[in-house]
Amino acid sequence: MGRSESVPSGEPDRPEVPEQRSGEDPYLQVRDLRVRFDTEDGLVRAVDGVSFSVERGRTLGIVGESGSGKSVTSLAILGLHNAKRATISGEISVGGRQLVGLPEEEVRRLRGRDMAMIFQDPLSALHPYYTVGRQIAEAYRVHHPKAGKREARNRAVDMLGRVGIPQPGKRYEQYPHEFSGGMRQRAMIAMALVNDPDLVIADEPTTALDVTVQAQILDLLADLQAEFHSAIILITHDLGVVSQVADDVLVMYGGRAVERGSVAQVLRRPQHPYTWGLLSSVPSLHGDADADLVPIKGNPPSLINLPSGCAFHPRCRYAGRNGDRSRTVVPELRSAGEAGHLVACHLPADERTRLYQQDIAQVGVAR
C-alpha cells in the first residue's frame, strides 16, 4: 500500500500511490480500516486493518464468505455504522475528503450525492407506501434542494428509462410491490445513480435474483459505469460474478485482506491458499462432473476468537510448512511478484507458485 500522508480535506490531492496503474487519482482510498463492535459475547473485530483504493471508472470486487468483513467495510465507507456500537479507525478518503471522524451531518450529505449504495434486497430498501418514482425523485431533491418537483420527476423518469425499465413514465406511478424482482433491482439502481455518484457500492446486488436476470443487471452495471465513469465496489461471494464484472479483486478472510490484485492476477494466478481453496471448491459447468469437489476443510472463523497468526492457518493445507510462523505471526500483505498483486501469506513466493502448479491448477475451475 502506498505510504502517503493523510489528505487535507477539501484540498485537491495528489498522494503517491506507486502501485497505481493509471495516472488518475484513486477516488476512494481506504487505509488500515478497523471496525470493532463491542457485543455481549466479546469484542468483534469485524474489519482488522484493511487497505485498498478504487479509481473512477474501475470496479473493485470484494470477495469473501460470511463474516469476512466485506459488508462491514462497505457500511463503514458509507458511514452507516452506529457510532455507539462500532469503533472505526483508519482512513477513508472519498474524493480527497477524509470521512473517519467527520460529523454525521456531513457524511450524510456526501451519502447519496457522492457515494451511493445498492443493496441485496431491493424490497427492504424501497419504502412500500410510496411510489417508486416518488422515492427516486425525493432522493434527487434531497441533494438538489433548488430543483422543482417537475424537474425531479423528469430526472426520475429519465433514470428509470436509463436502467432499462420499459414505459418509465407509467412505471413512475407504481408501487414497489407492482415491480418484479429484477425491475425492483433496476429501480434501486436508478435511485442510487440519480445524483450521479462518483462511488457506487453494490452489496451482493444480484444474489437474490435469478441467473438470467442477474446477467441483465450485471450488464446494466457495466453499461452505466461506462456512461457515468463512476468507481464501483462490488461485494459478492460469487467468484463468477467478480470475474465477469470487476477489474480488481480484494479477497477478505476473517476481517483481513489476504490477497489483492487485478482479476487476471487473483483469479488466474492466485497466490493465497484461501483463494486456491475458493477456486477449487466452486462447482463449475466445465471439467469433470464426476470428480469430487475440493472443499476447504473446517469452518469460517469466529471474529471474536480469531485464530492466532494467519487467521486461515487452521484450515490451510500448507500451514505446517513454515514451522510455527503461521500460528504465531500475522502475515502482512506484500507484493506477490507482479506489480499490483499483493498477498498475505508466509509461504515463500517460489514455493507458492510450485504448490499452485502441483496441487491446484489441475482441479476445479482453476483448471
Binding site: 463449475s284 462432473a289 475440493v294 469452518n299
Partner: protein, 332 residues
C-alpha cells in the same frame, strides 16, 4: 431397465387466489409435470424462482396436497394418502431443507432433532436410539459427542449436516433435497455436496435434488429436468442437458451462469425481461415471451414434452436445437 421408484404423472398444484370470499383465479405453480426416478438415481430439478420446483418437491413428500395428477412411490399411489397410510412409506421418503437455521428446532438438542423421525414413528433401533443417532452424526461428519448440544452452537455447514442426519435416520430410499447448499458459504458448499455424493453412492439413495444453481446440479445429478413456469421444458441425462441443450431456455440458462474461467461475456445469450407471473402464464409455449425463436405458432400451440430421436432426452419446444442459419437473434 429397473422399475421406477417414484413415478410422477401430470402433477399439478394450483393455489387459489381469493378476492374477498370469491376465488378469483389460481397461481398455477406446477402445471402437469411428469418424471420418474429410479432407485439410486439422482434427478435434478432446476429452474428460476417461480418455476415450481420447490412446490413439486413439497408435493412429493406430501407437505402440500396435489391439485391433480398422481405420485406413485414404490408401486403405491400416495397422491392423496392420509397420514396413517403414509406412515410405512415415510421411512423411505425424506426431505432436506434449504435453510440450515430454520430447519432445526432451536429448543431441541442435536440428539433430539436427529432422533425425531425415529420417535415420531415409534421405532427403536437395535442398540437404542442414542447409539443410532451417534452413528448418524458420525456418518455425516459430525462429532458424536455433540449429541447434547443445541443448534445455535453450530455453524451453517454443520447445521446442514444435522439436517442430513435427520433425513437419514429412517434409512430412506429417496430424499428430496430442496436447495440444500444454496444458503451455505462457497467453501462449505463443496463439503456438503461431497458428503451428499458419498452418501448417495454408499447408501444407494435416490435423490430429487432441487436447486437454482446449474453448476451444483451438474456435480450431483445423473439426470436433469429444467422447469419454467410450472412445466418441465427439457429433461435428459446430465451430459445431454449440459453439452447438448435443445430448449432455448436451457441454453439461455446455461449461458447466463457467470463463470470464473471466463472474463469475456460477449457471445452469451441474454434473455430480456423477467419470468411472467404464474397467475396468468402466457398462452401456448410459456417461454415464448422471452424467446428469440418465438413464432406465431408458439402463441397458440403448447409444445409437448417429446423425446428426441427416440432417446431419453425430451424437449418441449417447436424449434429445438441450435439456432438455424436464418435466426441469429438472442445473442447481442
Amino acid at each position: 431397465m429397473t422399475e421406477a421408484l417414484l413415478t410422477v404423472r401430470g402433477l399439478t398444484k394450483h393455489f387459489p387466489v381469493r378476492d374477498g370470499f370469491r376465488a378469483s383465479g389460481a397461481v398455477r405453480a406446477v402445471d402437469g409435470v411428469d418424471f420418474d426416478v429410479r432407485p439410486g438415481e439422482t434427478l435434478g430439478l432446476v429452474g428460476e424462482s417461480g418455476c415450481g420446483k420447490t412446490t413439486t418437491g413439497r408435493m412429493l413428500v406430501r407437505l402440500l396436497e396435489p391439485t391433480a395428477g398422481s405420485i406413485e412411490f414404490a408401486g403405491r399411489d400416495i397422491t392423496h394418502a392420509r397420514r396413517r397410510e403414509l406412515r410405512p412409506l415415510r421411512q423411505d421418503l425424506q426431505i432436506i431443507f434449504q435453510d440450515p437455521y430454520a430447519s432445526l428446532n432451536p429448543r431441541h438438542t442435536v440428539g433430539r432433532i436427529v432422533a425425531m423421525p425415529l420417535q415420531v414413528n415409534r421405532i427403536t433401533p437395535p442398540g437404542g436410539i442414542k447409539k443410532r443417532v451417534q452413528e448418524l452424526l458420525e456418518l455425516v461428519g459430525l462429532n458424536p459427542e455433540h449429541y447434547n448440544r443445541y443448534p445455535h452452537e453450530f455453524s451453517g455447514g454443520q447445521r446442514q449436516r444435522i439436517g442430513i442426519a435427520r433425513a437419514l435416520a429412517l434409512r430412506p430410499k429417496l430424499i428430496v433435497a430442496d436447495e440444500p447448499v444454496s444458503a451455505l458459504d462457497v467453501s462449505i458448499q463443496a463439503q456438503v455436496i461431497n458428503l451428499l455424493r458419498e452418501l448417495q453412492r454408499d447408501l444407494d439413495l435416490a435423490f430429487v435434488f432441487i436447486a437454482h444453481d446449474l453448476a451444483v446440479i451438474r456435480h450431483f445429478c445423473h439426470r436433469v429436468a429444467v422447469m419454467y413456469l410450472g412445466k418441465i421444458v427439457e429433461i435428459g441425462d446430465r451430459d445431454d442437458i449440459y453439452e447438448r441443450p435443445q430448449h432455448p431456455y436451457t441454453r439461455a440458462l446455461l449461458s447466463a451462469v457467470p463463470d470464473v474461467t471466463q472474463t469475456d461475456s460477449s457471445g452469451r445469450i441474454r434473455l430480456v425481461g423477467d419470468v411472467p407471473t404464474p397467475l396468468n402464464p402466457p398462452s401456448g409455449c410459456r417461454f415464448r415471451t422471452r424467446c428469440w425463436k418465438a413464432q406465431e405458432r408458439c402463441a397458440t400451440d403448447e409444445p409437448a414434452l417429446v423425446p428426441r430421436d427416440g432417446g431419453v432426452q425430451a424437449v418441449a419446444c417447436h424449434f429445438p436445437g441450435p439456432d438455424g442459419q436464418d435466426s441469429d437473434g438472442g445473442t447481442r
